[in-house]
Amino acid sequence: MPLFDQLYNFAHWLTQNREEAEDLVQETYVKALKGFSSFQLGTNFRAWMYRILRNTFLTSRTGLKATMTVPLDSDEDGPELAVEHETPETLLFERSNREQLQRTIDDLPVYFREVLLLCEVEEMSYQEISETLSVPIGTVMSRLSRARKTLRDRLRPHPQVGTTTPAIAKGTNYGL
């Protein structure tokens, strides 16, 4: 079946639950078969399938709960500056801690998690992600940039407890 493993992996990341992921994938295939007439030949089949899956997720109970916070698609963070010594990346690889990375991705807001996974795991182009998420490419770029920054911030060891990025810790829209 086309995209079966990839869609399941993405669904599980979104729902964070095996049974819900299975339901989501099943519903996606059913909808795809029913609605194939809406698929325009020559357009991106993969993005179309992921869009169905994502839209189905967003209207599910878990999806609605996960997306209570709406992302603010402005790019107010400014450019990231180089870090001279310890960086989240080097620390990550020193510890070879894939599980920690997975947990950190799990904890990202769903809007960050999905764009990061579509880019890095599914290796979608910005254009494909834009079609999948139904947002402009500029939004894809800014959301991706902030997702990566948040991930790096959260992987960076904090000298004191409770010093996480304030916007994210408070769960405000600005953080998203």
Partner: protein, 254 residues
């Protein structure tokens, strides 16, 4: 701050999303700037870590079977998606039946593995051709396509010289078979697209017959062999003779 304007675009550069001219300019800069090259290296490592960590969940065999059954009972198979799914399902079923006869003395487990691998290869082929951007590196030049895989897959392989042949290279992309990275090349012969997959032999879970050729009755013609520690698959809807010709070019060139 040094290179601030470059660093703003670093992720876009590493995602391969800058314009061609900007990509070239960035290439030159990164090679000559220690700060940006160190930053780029770290971010590439992070990208790879996310890529590996992101391939985390695998559907159960029971769920796969359930979905296949539920799709098989859907009435609207005349749609193209139905056709694609039906083709893949046919490949799985027919491959199962015919390879059982072909490899009569193999254990049931090996056969199940082999069917799984062959059907996955057929799925990868169909899925890629269904995409509007089937290749990530678009080039007819093997000297462009081969280096593109450098650093992306943990092995090297040779692409055959196509002079005086009817085949033309369209490009390539990375692919995965049971979480193992590999190369996927797409060739064209008389408007038929043929996929060539290359994986490390040890990463292919099935013990496949040497030089096994899938029978002609399959929806796709397929050929697979092992050479130099690598496992090759050639698959497409072109004639068996074309598949064989392309396979021979690879065998001679590897």
């Amino acid at each position: 701050m040094v290179c601030e304007s470059w660093k703003e675009k670093l992720d876009t550069y590493l995602d391969g999303e800058l314009q061609d001219q900007d990509m070239r300019t960035f290439d030159v800069h990164v090679r000559t700037c220690p700060s940006c090259s160190a930053d780029a290296l770290e971010r590439v490592q992070m990208k790879r870590a996310i890529q590996v960590a992101g391939k985390r969940f695998t559907p159960t065999a029971e769920f796969r079977s359930r979905i296949q059954k539920s799709i098989a009972t859907k009435p609207r198979r005349s749609f193209q998606l139905g056709w694609i799914l039906a083709t893949a399902a046919t490949v799985i079923l027919v491959a199962g039946a015919l390879t059982s006869a072909y490899l009569g003395n193999r254990s049931a487990r090996d056969l199940a593995y082999q069917n799984h691998v062959l059907s996955e290869i057929a799925d990868l082929h169909v899925e890629t051709l269904a995409s509007s951007s089937p290749v990530d590196v678009i080039s007819t030049d093997r000297h462009t396509v081969k280096p593109w895989f450098q650093g992306k897959i943990p092995f090297a392989f040779d692409l055959p010289e196509l002079k005086n042949s009817e085949f033309s290279l369209l490009g390539g992309r990375m692919t995965y078979l049971d979480q193992a990275p590999g190369a996927h090349l797409i060739y064209d012969v008389r408007k038929h697209h043929i996929s060539v997959f290359v994986f490390q032999e040890r990463s292919v879970p099935a013990r496949l017959e040497e030089d096994s050729v899938a029978p002609k009755k399959l929806s796709f013609n397929m050929e697979t062999w092992s050479q130099g520690g690598l496992r090759y698959f050639v698959i497409g809807d072109a004639s068996a003779a074309d598949i064989d010709s392309l396979a021979k070019l690879f065998k001679a060139g590897s």
